[in-house]
């Protein structure tokens, strides 16, 4: 599958991508489209003006014209570099989207004329409308996201998840949702189209990673406003500088003033801002996460509370028999035999685990048991078992159900055993034979390996985890402790879930919720970030704003990381960009006014060898720094979970102080180089 081949790291500078990006960078010079990046747009306008002035000065035979030509050239290069940064991110996004799109090809599909009949007409998948029912059979590609309304089939979802084992999809229940682009391996089913092809998550994601229809996130909007503000400030500064220097008795070449303007406005972050956003989306796709909007990803950086269903997330879905606890006066062997018999017809994982436990201890207990009748479990009786031939019956079930079956009153011994089990996080299953209670089987929740580590990681990111379970508080507390979650909600119902989320939000927390079932939909919608599992129901996926294709609830760690990285990258590069200005002042101001006030030469702390070289070096540094920072913008600034104060201190030191020092070194080095080459 194309997906799997490209699912790894894209080469940071793949030659094909680079080539296309260069072309795109030139195409982006069109001022009409460049307006969306105000800072770079200003640089382009300045470059046009500088070009005109240089032509004038060349004609007039200005002695500094040579330096002016070079400066103007570098101003244009700055624009191209800025465009290039965005283009690289877009091209990488497109490459990523290509693989997503491979699963979205238009296919022939069988639309049913009447839902309950089997006759169909063949149409193009793109012609489908929401609500249409299609028939998919072995070998067919499912044309769109939808719900199974009839039939059962195994589906290869590797195109989406990379998981090679086919999964079962059937009507009703939590496994009724199918994703467009996946392939039916065996059998058939009828699928009602929920999302018209072209409107699905994947299409939205493709639009986002390509950068074409990407909506700016709130922090991006705020940052852009700040950058525009800074640009206006420096426009004013440079505009006022003309009259000031004229008053002071010096004529400053307009090109030099324009050079000062371009070096002072935040070109670095202006050039890299959209690249950071697109690259962030691309990293998400790489992690098999589909986000419905960039705003959601950003909100993930703020998540401080994560609600998780216990079952399937923290523990494996089923419980295992762990021990047998007979009542006093009952032989443990008798209890084992009764439990064994009662589980014979029970093919749930719990039932099978009881057989395994007994067999492990005593071997096969009963050869050819004479079973008269199976009593299956029902939610009403909450009891199951068998009637034996010729007589006798064994039952297992919940405490209440068995007690009423055995007509047993309060029993101190039984209660103590049950409480012990509950306290340790287990589930008690009471066993009785012929209306006599024999003892209790301890069913234990098995916690997924490594889940503790994942919660530790979340905690380091300041995210509290809250386990949601239908268990009683005692059991819940024990499992919560074992799994290492921070809090739990026991005996949960959909209403209580919703209530809990509202309560947390009322406290000002930002809540993420992972869920897959239809009854999770309201909670997913209420949460600030709803993460639906790809194998969950369509309702859940609709209500959520993030879909995890791998159905791994702890993937939220990845999303939080990318969300934070996005903000940190923007913040750090902004700080770096603004801090650069200090050195640029020291480089440009002394030569600018050298003829009027030679004393200002004292500010030439970098000892740049002549005025033209100083200005040119600053402009070149300003352009090159964009190129040097592209890899950082694409990969994202490294995020090490730690306290906000430490994080702020570290980033301020690296990008703030680093941003002040770096240009001193860079400009000096360029000055030495162009001096050595004799360029000015």
């Amino acid at each position: 599958m194309i997906w799997n081949e490209t699912n790894g790291d894209l080469q940071l500078f793949d030659t094909g991508i680079l080539r296309r990006a260069v072309v795109s960078a030139v195409r982006k010079l069109n001022p009409i489209t460049l307006v969306h990046n105000p800072v770079i747009f200003v640089v382009e306008i300045v470059s046009i003006l500088a070009t005109l002035f240089v032509i004038r000065d060349l004609a007039a035979g200005d002695p500094t014209a040579d330096a002016q030509v070079q400066i103007t050239l570098w101003l244009w290069i700055t624009v191209l570099f800025g465009n290039f940064a965005e283009a690289v991110a877009e091209e990488r996004g497109k490459a990523r989207a290509e693989s997503l799109r491979a699963s979205q090809k238009t296919t022939e599909t069988k639309r049913l004329v009447l839902e309950h009949r089997m006759d169909f007409e063949t149409v193009k998948s793109s012609e489908l409308a929401t609500g249409d029912v299609v028939l998919v059979e072995a070998g067919d590609i499912i044309p769109a996201d939808g719900d199974v309304v009839d039939g059962i089939a195994s589906v290869d979802e590797s195109a989406i998840t990379g998981e090679s084992a086919p999964v079962i999809r059937e009507s009703g229940g939590d496994r009724s949702s199918v994703t467009g682009g996946t392939k039916v391996v065996s059998d058939w089913m009828k699928v009602r189209v929920v999302i018209r092809p072209g409107g699905s998550f994947i299409d939205r994601m493709i639009a986002m990673v390509e950068g074409t229809r990407r909506q700016k996130t709130p922090s991006e909007v705020a940052l852009t406003i700040m950058l525009v503000g800074q640009t206006i400030v420096f426009l004013v500064v440079v505009a006022a500088l003309g009259p000031f220097s004229f008053y002071s008795g010096g004529m400053v070449a307009t090109t030099f003033l324009l050079a000062l303007l371009v070096t002072l406005i935040p070109t670095t972050i202006g050039a890299l801002l959209s690249a950071i956003g697109i690259a962030g989306m691309e990293r998400l796709v790489k992690a098999n996460i589909i986000a419905k909007s960039g705003r959601t990803v950003e909100a993930c950086g703020d998540v401080d509370t994560l609600l998780l269903d216990k079952t399937g997330t923290i523990t494996f879905g089923n419980r295992m028999a762990d021990a047998m606890k007979p009542l006093p006066g009952v032989q443990i062997r008798d209890l084992a035999e009764a439990a064994y018999l009662a589980s014979l017809s029970d093919d749930t994982p719990e039932g099978r685990s009881i057989l395994e436990l007994v067999e492990r201890t005593y071997g096969k207990m009963v050869e050819n048991p004479a079973v008269l009748r199976h009593i299956p479990f029902s939610a009403e009786t909450r009891i199951s078992g068998v009637d034996l031939h010729p007589e006798g019956e064994v039952r297992k079930g919940s405490e209440d159900a068995i007690r009423s079956y055995a007509k047993m009153g309060e029993n101190y011994q039984l209660t103590r055993i049950i409480q012990d089990i509950a306290r340790s996080g287990g589930t008690p299953l009471v066993v009785a034979r012929d209306h006599r209670v024999l003892g209790v089987i301890h069913l234990k929740d098995v916690i997924k390996p490594h889940i503790r580590d994942r919660f530790m990681q979340l905690r380091r990111m300041d995210v509290r985890t809250v386990m949601i379970t239908g268990d009683n508080p005692l059991t819940a507390a024990a499992i919560a402790a074992e799994a290492g979650v921070d809090d739990f909600l026991a005996e949960s119902t959909p209403e209580r879930k919703l209530e809990l989320i509202r309560k947390y939000q009322g406290e000002g927390r930002v809540v993420a919720m992972c869920g897959d079932g239809s009854n999770d939909a309201p909670a997913l919608a209420q949460a600030d970030v709803g993460v639906a599992m790809n194998d969950g129901t369509q309702a859940a996926k609709e209500a959520a704003n993030i879909v995890d294709l791998d159905s791994d609830p702890t993937k939220l760690i990845e999303v939080v990381r990318v969300g934070k990285q996005l903000l940190i990258s923007r913040g750090s590069l902004t700080t770096f960009s603004i801090a650069n200005d200090v050195a640029k002042y020291f480089a440009i101001l002394p030569p600018l006014f050298a003829t009027v006030y030679p004393g200002l030469g004292a500010l030439n702390v970098m000892d740049l060898h002549n005025p033209q070289s100083a200005i040119l070096s600053a402009v070149i540094f300003n352009a090159l720094v964009i190129i040097f920072l592209i890899p950082l913008a694409l990969k994202g600034v490294n995020y090490v979970p730690s306290s906000p104060d430490m994080l702020l201190g570290r980033n301020l030191a690296v990008y703030g102080i680093g941003g002040i020092i770096a240009p001193f070194i860079g400009i000096k080095a360029i000055d030495l180089l162009i001096g050595g080459l004799g360029l000015v």
């Binding site: 709130p218 909007v221 705020a222 406003i225 500088l241 903000l567 002042y585 006014f593």
Partner: protein
């Protein structure tokens, strides 16, 4: 030298002690809680409410609050304008001073109501006692009460949760005057009288000097105006020479006390804010950031002035006491530097020595202080709401740097606040740089500077910085009575003052309406030394950076040329 250090240290200690005392008192006053003055003032307050038909419990939405601010201020401007025009016909005019001409009257009225107190006239010569008292002195109260009310409304916005209103301007306004400004000014006016500052309504005295000549001694109701012009950080003096005049500032003690009086409220308001936020560390953090910048400025001015003028080294001039040109010997370089920094960091602009005569570096710090637009303590109230713009930016940057939405005191800073916090301060470089640049293009306006070369540029930079930041500090070598300057400055003062008031109230209104989120998890703490460092950097980068090129052509050029022995 040791005396100087002791004086400056003592100043710091007094301010640090005064801040929590006055800060806590003000918090009680604005919360309407019982305080020392309640028994005396509350009945008067009630009577005023009744006369003015003010419903003290009617809270105002931010826009309503801003409307009330503007309405009260417009009425004040009109009244003051009328007084200045008609002073000849009004009482308390023993010298029969003529009415001020229209443009000067308007500029003066705007100047006083915005708290700038830029004086394009000589107080003792051009104004009657009535104008001085009912006009200038009263306006000092009104302008300060306006700014403090807005400052408090902004604090409410930051500290309350899900509230649609910011308090009642009329109530805050009257409380400020009755509980804070009047009692403080009254006590200090008495102290100043005790120290020899005149307070009289009799006509100027004519005395025979030692040489036998005749001299007219100007005096009047000075003490009352001096006390309030300092306490309200307005700075407009009774005399043209302002705090250098021996009747305004007779002794080193009055000099020290007046400097304390200037900084008292701006510093204490940080504590008021901390109290309202329920965490005084928040207030101290802001205090620390501003105090750091204040001390740096003071150190530079004191060093520059104490070092004297290198150009004079070749002449037989004793410079052991530093550069004493334009300074009073009773204050020396320390007492002068203290005033220069205190009055420009706050929006006072009062002087006890001539900033014009300072060394280039000594003069650059007051200029930069003004250009920072009240970021270093600032005027009463206005300092706090001006700082809000820097706080929003600092919080935004800090949030980005740690990968979280920016939150200050549990309030999410969103696009709307950023927009206001970024776009409003654009007025500052436009007014402080483009207006003087424009003036230099107009030959009459360009001739307003008495000096050539970099010093001339500094003069015009100071004039416009002072107007936009509603500071009122000036270099004396600038003739502000040119029509262009009168009008441009009046405009700069109004826009500088009221756009910030409206924008600050808008930010506070939108923050106040938001739910306060828990700050225990994840957000950047805003009371730590790190946040203080961040605030200082933000003030420096967003406030000062844009002025470097202009400063390079002004004081910096003058400084380096002075070292090279060059004069202009």
């Amino acid at each position: 030298m040791a005396d100087d250090t002791a004086q400056l240290l003592l100043f710091g200690v007094v301010i640090v002690i005064l801040t929590p005392l006055l800060g806590r008192y003000m918090a009680r006053v604005y919360a309407g809680e019982r305080n020392y003055l309640t028994p005396v003032v509350a009945p008067i307050e009630k009577i005023i409410w009744q006369i003015c038909a003010i419903d003290s419990r009617a809270e105002q939405h931010w826009s309503r609050y801003a409307f009330s601010v503007l309405a009260v201020n417009i009425v004040c401007v009109l009244i003051f304008y009328a007084i200045l025009r008609l002073q000849y016909y009004l009482p308390l005019n023993p010298r029969s001073v003529m009415g001020l001409e229209p443009s000067a009257s308007f500029a003066t009225a705007v100047s006083f109501i915005t708290g700038t107190n830029w004086q394009a006239y000589a107080g003792e010569a051009d104004l009657s006692f009535f104008s001085q008292m009912v006009g200038c002195t009263a306006q000092n109260f009104l302008a300060a009460a306006t700014a403090m009310s807005v400052g408090i409304a902004v604090m409410r916005g930051l500290t309350q949760s899900r509230a649609k209103t910011l308090g009642n301007f009329h109530v805050d306004f009257i409380r400020t005057i009755l509980y804070i400004l009047l009692p403080g000014s009254f006590i200090f006016a008495l102290i100043f009288v005790f120290q020899g500052v005149p307070q009289t309504l009799s006509n100027f005295s004519t005395v025979v000097t030692v040489e036998g000549g005749e001299q007219v001694l100007a005096h009047g109701p000075v003490a009352s105006q001096v006390a309030v012009k300092m306490f309200s950080t307005s700075g407009g003096g009774f005399f043209n020479a302002n705090g250098a005049h021996p009747f305004s500032n007779p002794t080193p003690l009055t000099n020290f006390l007046q400097a304390v009086l200037i900084l008292a409220i701006p510093a204490a308001l940080t504590y008021t804010f901390g109290t309202m936020a329920g965490d005084v560390r928040q207030g101290w953090a802001l205090f620390s950031a501003m105090a750091f910048l204040f001390v740096i400025g003071l150190a530079v001015v004191y060093a520059a002035e104490g070092g004297g003028n290198t150009l004079l080294n070749r002449l037989p001039i004793d410079q052991t006491t530093g550069n004493m040109e334009g300074k009073e010997t009773r204050f020396g370089t320390a007492g002068s530097a203290l005033w220069a920094v205190t009055a420009t960091a706050t929006a006072t602009g009062a002087v006890n020595s001539m900033l014009e005569s300072y060394t280039p570096m000594g003069g650059m710090v007051p200029l930069l202080n003004v250009q920072l637009n009240e970021a270093i303590f600032g005027g009463v109230g206005s300092g706090f709401y001006s700082l809000l713009f820097y706080i929003v930016l600092a919080t935004f940057i800090a949030g980005l740097m740690v990968g979280r939405s920016p939150v200050y005191l549990g309030k999410k800073i969103e696009v709307r606040e950023i927009k206001l916090a970024v776009l409003t301060p654009l007025i500052v470089p436009i007014g402080m740089l483009l207006l003087p640049a424009l003036a230099l293009q107009i030959s009459e306006a360009a001739s307003a500077m008495y000096n050539k070369g970099p010093h001339g540029l500094t003069e015009i930079l100071v004039a416009y910085a002072s107007a936009v930041a509603t500071n009122g500090a000036s270099f004396a070598g600038f003739d502000a009575s040119q029509p262009f300057h009168l009008n441009a400055q009046a405009l700069a003062m109004m826009v500088g003052r009221f756009s910030f008031i409206i924008a600050a109230l808008a930010i506070a209104g939108s923050l106040g309406a938001k739910r306060s989120v828990t700050t225990t998890v994840g957000g950047v703490p805003t009371h730590t030394p790190l946040f203080v460092i961040l605030m200082i950097s933000i003030i420096f980068i967003f406030g000062a950076m844009s002025f470097f090129p202009a400063l390079a052509l002004g004081p910096l050029a003058e400084h380096f040329e002075m070292l090279a022995g060059q004069t202009f």
